[in-house]
C-alpha cells in the first residue's frame, strides 16, 4: 500500500493496539498504563500545562482550539473548578471517541485525571451520548475499578490531589455536544446552548470555572506527559502537530478509524487506508469533517490533513470524519438528508435555526422529488443567508454549510432536479446499470 503507512512508533492514541485486556486495569498497567499519571503528579500542574502548550495539541471536538490556551482561561484562585469531558460524539460520520472508549478506556481516564490535576479540578464529569449505552457501562466499570485502586477519589496515588469522576449519560441530542448545552444538560436542565459571555472557563458547570475537552483530546495526555510535548508535536508538522484519529466511512471498501500524523498525510492517503472507493467506482465528493463541513471534490484529494490547507480548500477537518461519496451519489439527496438531520436536531432555541432548518428541509424534499420550481431553488441561498452567522450557536450556521457548498460545486445537478418530477441522478444510474 502506498502513502503514509502509520508506523507503530508514530502512534499515540492507538499505540497499545492489539494488547490483551486493555479494558481492565491490569491489562492497561501491563502496557505501562497510569505511569503518565504518576509522572504528572511528580511534575506539578504548571509543568503539565507547559508540556501541553509545547505539544501544540488542539481540541479534537471540531473547533481545533489550542488546548493549553483554553486551560489558561481559568481565572486564578477560583475554586472549585470542574473538568467536563465531552463524549457526546454525535457528528454524522464520527465514531473515533467510541473506539477510544471501547478499546482504551483507561487511557481516557488517565488523560482525564492528568488534566484534572493540571487544572486542579475537584470533579471530572464524563458526559457520554445517550446512545452509547454499552460504552457508558464500560466507562462506569472502569471508573469503579479505578476507585478501588485509589486512582480516583481522595489522595490519588498517595498524593494530596483528589478528584471525583462521574460518568453521565446524555438523553440523545446532537446539541449537547456543544459545550454549554452539555453543561446545561449535565446540570439537569434542558440541553440548549448558553449565552456567552460568560464562557465556561469563567462561569461553567454550576457557575464555577470549567474546562470542556473532547475524549480524543484528553486521550493524548498520557503520551504527552510521558514522552514530552515536543515528541508529540514532532509526529505531525509544525502547523499541525501530533497525530489524529480519522474516521473514514461512506463508499469505501474498508471503513474504520485510522491514526495518522497530521500535516504529512493527505485525503488520498486516508482513502487508500480505507481500501479506496468501493465496488471499483469513481470518487465523486467527500465531507472532510463530519456532517457540518463543506463538501470537497476530487481536486482536493491531495490536500494534506493540515488545518490551514483544508481551510484554504474551503472546508475544515472538523471532528475528524471523512465521508466518501462515489459517482452514483445524488448530491441533492445527501444535502436533503443532512438538512433533515439538522432540522431534527435543532434545539429550537433561536428562530433562524429552528425555522430555517425546517424551511430548508421542506425545500430540499421538494427539490429531491423534482417538484421544486426554479424560484424555490433560488430562495435556498436567501434562506441560508438568513441562518449562517445569525444563529445563537454554530448548529444553525453549519446547517447551511454543506448544502450551500454542494449547491455551488454541483449546481448543474441541483438545477437538473428543478421540475424534473424525479431524481435525475438516480435515474441516470439506473439507466447505466
Amino acid at each position: 500500500m502506498e502513502g503514509a503507512q502509520p508506523v507503530p512508533d508514530g502512534l499515540v492514541l492507538t499505540r497499545y493496539q492489539g494488547a490483551p485486556g486493555l479494558t481492565t486495569l491490569d491489562g492497561y498497567r501491563k502496557v505501562g498504563g497510569y505511569r503518565g499519571l504518576a509522572r504528572a503528579l511528580e511534575m506539578g500542574p504548571e509543568a503539565i500545562v507547559a508540556e501541553v502548550k509545547a505539544s501544540g495539541l488542539r481540541g479534537r471536538g471540531g473547533a481545533a482550539f489550542p488546548t493549553g490556551t483554553k486551560w489558561g482561561f481559568l481565572p486564578q484562585g477560583v475554586f472549585p473548578r470542574y473538568l467536563a469531558v465531552n463524549a457526546d460524539e454525535s457528528e454524522p460520520g464520527c465514531f473515533k471517541d467510541r473506539v477510544l472508549i471501547e478499546e482504551y478506556p483507561h487511557q481516557l481516564l488517565e488523560g482525564v485525571l492528568i488534566t484534572a490535576f493540571a487544572l486542579q479540578a475537584s470533579h471530572a464529569f464524563i458526559y457520554i451520548r445517550g446512545e452509547y449505552r454499552k460504552q457508558r457501562e464500560l466507562l462506569e466499570a472502569v471508573v469503579r475499578e479505578a476507585y478501588r485502586a485509589k486512582l480516583v477519589g481522595k489522595r490519588i496515588l498517595g498524593s494530596d490531589f483528589g478528584c471525583e469522576v462521574v460518568v453521565h449519560g446524555g438523553a440523545g441530542a446532537y446539541i449537547c455536544g456543544e459545550e454549554t448545552a452539555l453543561l446545561d444538560s449535565l446540570e439537569g436542565r434542558r440541553g440548549q446552548p448558553r449565552l456567552k459571555p460568560p464562557f465556561p472557563a469563567v462561569k461553567g458547570l454550576y457557575g464555577q470555572p470549567t474546562v470542556v475537552n473532547n475524549v480524543e483530546t484528553l486521550s493524548n495526555l498520557p503520551y504527552i506527559v510521558t514522552e514530552g510535548g515536543a515528541a508529540y508535536a514532532a509526529l505531525g508538522t509544525e502547523a499541525s502537530p501530533g497525530t489524529r484519529l480519522f474516521c473514514v466511512s461512506g463508499h469505501v471498501e474498508r471503513p474504520g478509524t485510522f491514526e495518522v500524523p497530521m500535516g504529512r498525510t493527505t485525503f488520498r492517503d486516508l482513502l487508500e487506508l480505507a481500501g479506496g472507493v468501493w465496488r471499483g467506482r469513481k470518487f465523486k465528493a467527500m465531507q472532510p469533517g463530519g456532517g457540518s463541513m463543506q463538501v470537497l471534490g476530487p481536486q482536493h484529494l491531495d490536500v494534506p490533513l493540515d488545518f490551514k490547507a483544508v481551510a484554504d480548500a474551503g472546508s475544515s477537518l472538523g471532528a475528524g470524519a471523512l465521508v466518501v461519496m462515489d459517482e452514483t451519489t445524488c448530491m441533492v439527496e445527501v444535502s436533503r438528508r443532512l438538512v433533515d438531520f439538522y432540522r431534527h436536531e435543532s434545539c429550537g432555541k433561536c428562530v433562524p435555526c429552528r425555522e430555517g432548518t425546517y424551511f430548508e428541509s421542506q425545500l430540499m424534499h421538494r427539490l429531491e422529488e423534482g417538484s421544486a420550481s426554479a424560484e424555490e431553488l433560488a430562495s435556498l441561498a436567501d434562506i441560508c443567508a438568513g441562518m449562517d452567522g445569525r444563529c445563537f450557536c454554530p448548529l444553525g450556521d453549519t446547517a447551511t454549510w454543506f448544502v450551500m457548498s454542494a449547491y455551488r460545486m454541483f449546481k448543474d445537478e441541483f438545477d437538473a432536479h428543478v421540475g424534473a418530477g424525479h431524481c435525475p441522478v438516480r435515474a441516470g444510474v439506473g439507466a447505466a446499470a
Binding site: 429550537g348 432548518t357 424551511f359 436567501d382 452567522g389 444563529c391 445563537f392
Partner: protein
C-alpha cells in the same frame, strides 16, 4: 445634551450616526433606545435577563464580523452601532419570514390583533409576502385552558421564552416549561397541570403575540375599541399602578403600568381580575327621600336639601353630638378630608370613623420603609403571612430582593421575635396592621442593637392609609394631630345608634363589611335620620331616610395613599350609566346646605390644595410622591 465634556464614568456610543453617552455595561439595545433608534425585539424584556433567542434585534457593530444581538451585547467606549444597513434589513426580512412560516393566519380572530409585535414588526420591517405554501405549516394545539384565567395557543407562540423566564426569574414558580425541540418546540405546563400561581395575569402582557391570552378578555374587544385610563388598583393598599381599559361603560381589562417604585409592572390576579365587580353590579339609580307617608324618588337638589334639613333639625334639637359620620377606606383622600371636615367643622361632632375594626395606634413611622427600599435592605423580616396575603405583589418584590439582589428574606412565625446578632446592617421589617406593634418592637430592638431598621405596615384597603392620614378617625385630626375631644369609633357609633343615643347618621360609601354587619341594620333602625351616599343597594340604602347615588372608585378622580405613604392619582375610567354627581360634589353641596361653604370648588385638585394646607406632608405629593412626614418618612 449639548455639552461636549463627557461624564468621566460614561462611554460614548454611536447609533446610526447619533452619539449618546451611556453607563458602561449598558446593553446596546438600551443605548439605541437612548439614541431614539427603535430596534425590534421579541425575547428581550426590561424585567428579564437577556437570552438573545429571537435574533430580531441583530445589528451591525463596527469591528465585529457577525451581526450582534443588541439585547445581549454590552456597549464599549467608541462603539459604532448600525441598525439600518442592507445587511440588517435583509436579515430582519429573513427572520420575520422564518417567524411567519409556521404562524397561523388567524389575526382576524386573535385577541392580540392590533397590539401584536409580530403584526407590527412585520408591517414595519417584514417581507410582506410568503414563500412557503400554507399546507406546509406545522400545527399545534389551540385554545388550551391553562387555568380558569389563561388560555394558550401554541401555534401563535413564537418561542420568545418570556413566559418561561417570567416564571423562573420573577415568581420562581416554574409553571411553564419548554417541551420538545426544534420546530416542534412548544411552551406548556408540565403534563398539562393547571397553573396555580397568583400572578398568572402577567403572562398575556409579557407575551409579544396572541399565544397567552386572558380568559376574561377573550373576544371581548379590539384595542382600538378601548379607552385607556391610568389609575390605581383598588384592591389593596399596595397601590399598584395600572391602566383601566374600558369599552363604553364596561371595564374590559386591567393592564399593567410600570412604576418601578411600586408594582414594578407586575399585578396579582386578585387585583387584575377584580374589575368585573364594577361591571353590571346593581346600582342605586336615583335619589330618594322619606317624605310624609314613605320614601320616594326626588331630585338630587331636593335630596341634598332634605338631608341637610333632617341633620339641622337634629343638631338644633339634640346638639351636634347626636350626629355621627361614617366613611370607608374606599374613599379618596379628598373625599375623606372633606368628610372629616364636614363632621368636625360643619356639623360639629367628634363621632366619625371609617372602619369596623378598631384602628391600631398608627403614626408615620410605621411606613418609613418604602416598597422599593425593600430591595436595599440586607435583611428583610416579614411577620407572618398576612402582609403578603393583603398585598400579593409584595411577594414578587421579596423574591426580587432575594434572587436578583441577594438579600436575605426571613418570614417569621408568631410569636414574632428576631434575636440573631450580626454586623450592623440595613433591616426592613414588614408587618400587617394587626401585627404593627410586634413589627415596631422588633424595629426598635434592632435599632437599639445598632442596625438601621425601618418598618412598613401593610394596610387592608386601597386608601386605608389615606383615610388615617386625613383624620377620618375619632381620635385623630388630619396629619395625626390628637383631636381635642375623642369621639366614638364605629362599633360604638352603631351601638349608640341602636340604643337611640345617637339620632342621625351620615354614611358615605359604606364598606362591604359594614353593609354585612347585623349591628348596622339595628343602628339604621335606631336613628331618626340616616343620610346615605352609596353606589350600591344594601342595608344602608334600605335603611336610609335620604338616599343619594354615589360613585364607585373607578368612576371618580382624586388621590389615594398606599401602604408606604405614596400619594397616587385615581382617575375616572368609566362614567356611571346614569347621571350621578361625584361624591365630592354631593358633600360640598351638603355642607353648603348645612350653612358652611367648602371655600373651594368640590373638585379633586382644589380640594387637594386645601388638604395639603392642613397636612403639610402631602404638599406637592399628588403626582405619585410619598408624603413627607418630617425626618422619618
Amino acid at each position: 445634551m449639548g455639552e461636549a465634556s463627557a461624564h468621566p464614568d460614561l462611554v460614548r456610543v454611536t447609533v446610526d450616526d447619533r452619539e449618546v453617552e451611556v453607563a458602561p455595561g449598558t446593553l446596546v439595545w438600551d443605548a439605541c433606545e437612548r439614541a431614539g433608534v427603535f430596534v425590534p425585539v421579541y425575547c428581550a424584556h426590561k424585567k428579564l435577563e437577556p437570552v438573545a433567542v429571537c435574533r430580531m434585534c441583530l445589528v451591525e457593530v463596527e469591528g465585529m464580523p457577525k451581526l450582534q444581538p443588541a439585547c445581549a451585547t454590552r456597549v464599549a467606549d467608541g462603539m459604532k452601532v448600525r441598525t439600518l444597513t442592507e445587511q440588517v434589513r435583509k436579515f430582519r426580512d429573513s427572520n420575520l419570514e422564518f417567524l411567519l412560516l409556521n404562524h397561523p393566519l388567524d389575526c382576524p380572530v386573535c385577541d392580540r390583533g392590533g397590539e401584536c409585535d409580530l403584526q407590527d414588526f412585520t408591517q414595519r420591517f417584514g417581507p410582506g409576502r410568503s414563500r412557503q405554501s400554507i399546507q406546509q405549516k406545522v400545527h399545534f394545539d389551540k385554545a388550551i385552558p391553562l387555568s380558569d384565567k389563561i388560555v394558550l395557543d401554541q401555534e401563535r407562540c413564537i418561542l420568545c421564552w418570556r413566559c418561561v423566564r417570567y416564571y423562573e426569574e420573577v415568581t420562581g414558580e416554574r409553571e411553564i416549561v419548554l417541551q420538545q425541540r426544534g420546530v416542534h418546540t412548544v411552551v406548556d405546563t408540565f403534563e398539562r397541570q393547571p397553573l396555580r400561581s397568583q400572578f398568572q395575569g402577567n403572562l398575556p402582557e409579557i407575551c409579544p403575540v396572541g399565544a397567552l391570552t386572558h380568559a376574561k378578555y377573550r373576544f371581548r374587544a379590539r384595542p382600538w375599541d378601548l379607552r385607556r385610563t391610568a389609575s390605581i388598583c383598588s384592591h389593596c393598599s399596595y397601590g399598584c399602578n395600572l391602566f383601566i381599559d374600558a369599552r363604553d361603560d364596561q371595564i374590559a381589562r386591567y393592564a399593567s403600568s410600570d412604576n418601578e417604585d411600586v408594582e414594578d409592572s407586575w399585578l396579582c390576579d386578585r387585583g387584575r381580575y377584580s374589575f368585573p365587580e364594577y361591571n353590571g353590579r346593581e346600582r342605586v339609580t336615583a335619589p330618594e327621600a322619606v317624605v310624609t307617608g314613605g320614601r320616594q324618588v326626588v331630585s338630587h337638589r331636593e335630596a341634598v336639601a332634605r338631608a341637610a334639613g333632617q341633620l339641622l333639625r337634629i343638631i338644633s334639637d339634640r346638639g351636634p353630638e347626636a350626629v355621627a359620620v361614617v366613611g370607608s377606606d374606599l374613599m379618596t383622600n379628598e373625599e375623606a378630608f372633606v368628610l372629616q371636615w364636614l363632621a368636625r367643622e360643619v356639623i360639629g361632632t367628634p363621632h366619625l370613623d371609617h372602619r369596623l375594626r378598631p384602628t391600631p395606634h398608627l403614626d408615620p413611622a410605621d411606613f418609613e420603609l418604602s416598597i422599593a427600599g425593600i430591595e436595599e435592605c440586607d435583611l428583610i423580616l416579614v411577620l407572618g403571612e398576612e402582609p403578603e396575603r393583603l398585598a400579593p405583589v409584595l411577594t414578587l418584590r421579596l423574591h426580587k430582593a432575594a434572587t436578583k439582589r441577594g438579600r436575605r428574606v426571613e418570614r417569621l412565625q408568631p410569636p414574632y421575635a428576631w434575636t440573631e446578632v450580626a454586623q450592623p446592617q440595613r433591616v426592613g421589617v414588614i408587618s400587617s396592621e394587626l401585627d404593627r406593634d410586634a413589627g415596631a418592637a422588633i424595629r426598635d430592638q434592632l435599632r437599639g442593637a445598632g442596625h438601621t431598621a425601618q418598618l412598613l405596615t401593610i394596610m387592608e384597603r386601597v386608601n386605608s392609609r389615606g383615610c388615617q392620614d386625613m383624620g377620618l378617625l375619632p381620635g385623630w385630626l388630619p396629619g395625626y394631630l390628637a383631636a381635642p375631644q375623642a369621639g366614638m369609633g364605629l362599633p360604638e357609633i352603631l351601638q349608640s345608634s341602636a340604643t337611640g343615643k345617637l339620632k342621625a347618621l351620615l354614611i358615605v360609601n359604606p364598606s362591604a363589611e359594614l353593609e354585612a354587619a347585623p349591628e348596622f341594620e339595628a343602628a339604621l333602625r335606631g336613628v331618626e335620620a340616616a343620610v346615605v351616599v352609596t353606589p350600591h343597594p344594601g342595608a344602608a340604602s334600605r335603611g336610609a331616610s335620604v338616599l343619594i347615588p354615589g360613585r364607585t372608585i373607578v368612576e371618580k378622580a382624586g388621590t389615594v395613599t398606599n401602604a408606604e405613604g405614596r400619594v397616587q392619582r385615581v382617575r375616572a375610567a368609566i362614567e356611571p350609566s346614569l347621571t350621578v354627581p361625584t361624591d365630592l360634589r354631593t358633600l360640598g353641596e351638603l355642607a353648603e346646605a348645612l350653612g358652611t361653604s367648602l371655600g373651594v370648588s368640590p373638585m379633586a385638585t382644589p380640594v387637594y390644595e386645601k388638604l395639603a394646607a392642613a397636612v403639610p406632608a402631602y404638599r406637592g405629593a399628588q403626582a405619585g410622591m410619598r408624603a413627607r412626614w418630617g425626618s422619618g418618612g
